[in-house]
């Protein structure tokens, strides 16, 4: 064996077939389409699945199915699962550094900084799951004999148009807050640079994140986003990855069932995020209950 390898060409590497991530499984696009993904210099990297409207609808079905379990899980449990994602990312750090460097044309050190920031971002949100309710909810001192409590609840299925330029850190910055608060997500990866997102799906699949909680589609944002924005079973949409014209069109479509809309906004992904990406996809439920009152007779409670 050893004599042979000395003389032969360098080993031929194994290419990866990138697939979608829907309902915890890795299907190809039902349309059978792929599109060419290149690095920043135009060198072929892989063929990514080019999702169709049907793929988008399937992803919504999967996300809806997963919503009850995920939103019903304890906040502590969700935190553990999110932290587990960070653990798995850390283990695959080198792979993501390579993919991000290829995708975004970054030097290895710069790509490493991006990946580290993304992992830290997961950790940051992992720690938020069991704190957000205390920070933005609480007891209301109503003027009457009532116990009255406001607590945040996830809004439901959130369509996330991942940022186009930041294929990994931007993606994580948009996705983690959505699922940290108990929503489920249908993500459209960066159109030009979908590979880090598709690899993230492999991490999610092995990180105790229940199937369907995150669904990742690659393809043409302008093709997949409109059916999601118009979908009656999608509750919210993050328009980060849409340009101005598409964002407006999608916001109009989203009005049909009054989706919660997060408009595109300038973000420095290296800065510690605020909580607005979480609160954008939370409802506030206020529950009232009589307390009775201590009357003179003491008999009214």
């Amino acid at each position: 064996m050893s004599e042979k390898t000395e003389k032969t060409e360098p080993r031929l590497s194994v290419f990866k077939t990138y697939k979608l991530y829907v309902g915890g499984k890795f299907p190809r696009s039902e349309s059978g389409r792929v599109y060419e993904v290149t690095d920043s210099k135009g060198k072929w990297l892989a063929n990514a699945p080019q999702s169709s409207r049907k793929d988008a609808r399937d992803a919504v079905v999967a996300a809806r199915k997963a919503f009850g379990g995920w939103s019903g899980a304890t906040a502590y449990n969700r935190g553990q699962v999110l932290y587990r994602v960070a653990e798995m990312l850390e283990g695959r750090r080198e792979q993501f550094v390579r993919e991000v460097a290829d995708a975004e044309g970054l030097s290895k050190p710069k790509a490493a900084a991006v990946v580290d920031a993304a992992i830290d971002c997961w950790v940051w949100y992992a720690g938020w799951t069991d704190k957000i309710a205390q920070v933005i909810g609480g007891a209301n001192p109503v003027a009457g004999p009532f116990f009255n409590l406001s607590s945040p609840e996830p809004t439901g299925v959130v369509a996330v148009l991942a940022p186009q330029e930041s294929s990994f850190l931007g993606l994580v910055s948009a996705l983690a807050p959505v699922i940290a608060t108990g929503n489920t997500a249908v993500v459209i990866a960066s159109e030009q640079s979908p590979l880090p997102a598709l690899s993230l799906a492999e991490v999610l699949a092995t990180s105790d994140v229940p199937g369907g909680v995150v669904n990742v589609l690659s393809g043409r944002t302008a093709e997949i986003a409109p059916p999601l924005a118009a979908h009656q079973d999608v509750n919210a949409i993050d328009l980060a990855g849409a340009d101005e014209a598409l964002a407006k069109e999608l916001e109009i479509a989203a009005a049909d069932n009054l989706k919660r809309v997060l408009r595109p906004q300038p973000v420095d992904y290296f800065e510690t995020p605020g909580i607005d990406r979480m609160t954008a996809f939370l409802e506030t439920k206020t529950v009232w209950h009589p307390t009775g009152s201590l009357g003179a007779s003491g008999s009214s409670y």
Binding site: V135, I136, N140, A143, K248, I252, A255, T279
Partner: protein
């Protein structure tokens, strides 16, 4: 409604309120005619008497008011919060002083019983101003970071069911956070907002900080679409809410919507029946059912259906419908002929689709807009009256067998504003409240409001919250 209980009339005096024969638009601290000179009449729904003639805002007036608000914004937003607070406290106090006057006015213009304007609307209106007054100089501590900034000019469109209360919900947080306001009250109930303009004058509020534009939907649409409006707040129908969401799409305008509802009032077999009956009555007959969070779908556990309905019908037979100014009146007039027609048509559709209709013996006055309290049984989820918001005193009764079924039926609606739970079992309350997709859940009570308490919907009942700390967010750049 003749019964053993015959009450002598106990009318509240109209003399506490002076309604002028005509009113202008309130722009930049002055009352003014509409640019095109248009006016409309506002009538008392209980008598169809014309109360006053009111200037009707058009697009040019909207523009003028927005410009006034923009000009006022610079100084108003730069005021120390403690100073803004004092203006709001002044307004709150003046409302309290004039609350009887405003209660009578509101009853005349809206048709709702004086009992409700006096004991519910007005105390809450004052309370909202007091509550948000206190926030004005404490915004750094509200949890939106240090020094949160106002948005600018707020365009606000409010409905006719709680004219002054909705004004308070909109204006109090807007001013506390340093925004200026252009508010369009509904065309059937413009008067209390115009009286509020006078309160702003008495309070010495700087000109242009609050502008009031009575008018129709076209004025509201112009306000929402105005390029120099930074924040849009709307309370009203879901259909209009969707239209507004489309209008502001692609802009930087911040939007909050408080829209329709089809609240489920769930009564379990162990509920205290008498209290539940009171809650059901409050839930659907308060303000003639013209309440977005009304408990318009009664979900009753099958085993107690008969007993509950018997009790409920007996209770409904004691409700007194008639002169809204009479202090004994429980049910007043429907706000407008248009709304009466809508309620009538939906109730007829309920019958046509096979639901069983019942109303207590009830004589309706011969003038004005009236609808007897109405109950529908044999209602299924497919019935229009179980799905569409009626916005009137019409209750649809459905049944369930298990808590899971109750939750599934309660959530089976495009709305998600309110729900009620009646049971003696605490764990059941918490479990069911957890699963209901609604912004407000009342357990063993219904239709309770408080300025400290966020209110707003899930799903197509809109987004954003009004009231409480949460209500500030809608008016801050966060």
């Amino acid at each position: 409604m003749a019964s053993v209980f015959e009450y002598a009339p106990a009318p509240e005096s109209r003399s506490v309120v002076d309604i002028a024969p005509s009113y202008g638009l309130f722009i930049d601290g002055e009352f003014a005619e509409a640019a095109d000179g248009k006016v409309f009449k506002t009538v008392s729904p209980s008598t169809e008497e014309v109360l006053s003639e009111v200037a009707q805002a058009g697009e040019a007036d909207v523009d003028r008011a927005v410009r006034a608000a923009r000009k006022a914004f610079e100084k108003w937003s730069a005021l120390p919060g403690s100073e803004r607070a004092k203006y709001l406290f002044r307004i709150a106090r003046i409302i309290q002083e004039r609350s009887r006057e405003l209660a009578v006015l509101e009853t005349l213009d809206n048709g709702k019983p004086i009992k409700e304007t006096r004991d519910a609307d007005l105390p809450l209106v004052a309370a909202h101003f007091f509550y948000y007054a206190g926030w004005a100089d404490k915004l750094d501590h509200a949890g939106f970071g240090t020094n949160p900034r106002p948005l600018g000019v707020a365009g606000q469109v409010i409905p006719w069911n709680f004219p002054l209360l909705m004004l308070a919900w909109k204006i109090a947080p807007a001013l506390a956070t340093g925004n200026t306001v252009v508010l369009k009250p509904a065309e059937t109930t413009p008067l209390s907002a115009l009286f509020f303009a006078d309160i702003c004058r008495q309070a010495g509020l700087p000109k242009g900080v609050v502008n009031i534009l009575p008018g129709y939907g076209d004025a509201g649409a112009a306000l929402v679409a105005h390029p120099d409006v930074n924040k849009v707040a709307f309370t009203g129908s879901t259909a209009v809410g969707k239209e507004i969401a489309r209008t502001v799409a692609g802009t930087r305008k911040k939007l909050t919507l408080e829209l329709g509802g089809k609240g489920a009032n769930i009564v379990f077999d162990d509920a205290p029946i008498d209290q539940a009956v009171e809650g059901i009555v409050t839930g659907i007959f308060f303000n003639q059912g013209q309440v977005c969070c009304a408990g318009s779908r009664l979900l009753v556990q099958e085993s107690i259906q008969e007993e509950l309905l018997e009790s409920l019908k007996r209770r409904l037979s004691t409700l007194r419908l008639g002169d809204p100014l009479d202090k004994n009146t429980d049910i007043g007039a429907i706000n407008s002929a248009e709304q009466l027609a809508r309620i009538t048509a939906l109730a007829e559709q309920g019958e046509a689709e096979g639901a069983e209709r019942w109303s207590p013996a009830c004589e309706l006055p011969t003038s004005g807009y009236w609808f007897a309290p109405t109950l529908f049984t044999n209602v299924t989820q497919a019935h229009t009256i179980a799905r569409d918001e009626i916005f009137g005193p019409v209750l649809s009764v459905l049944t369930f067998r298990t808590p899971d079924e109750a939750v599934a039926k309660a959530n089976n609606t495009q709305y998600g504003l309110s729900a009620g739970i009646w049971t003696e079992k605490g764990s059941r309350i918490l479990a069911v409240a957890n699963k209901l997709r609604a912004g407000v859940v009342w357990s063993n009570t219904f239709n309770k409001f408080d300025p400290t308490s966020p209110f707003g919907g899930y799903k197509e009942s809109g987004f954003g919250r009004e009231g409480g700390r949460h209500g500030l967010e809608a008016y801050l750049d966060v």
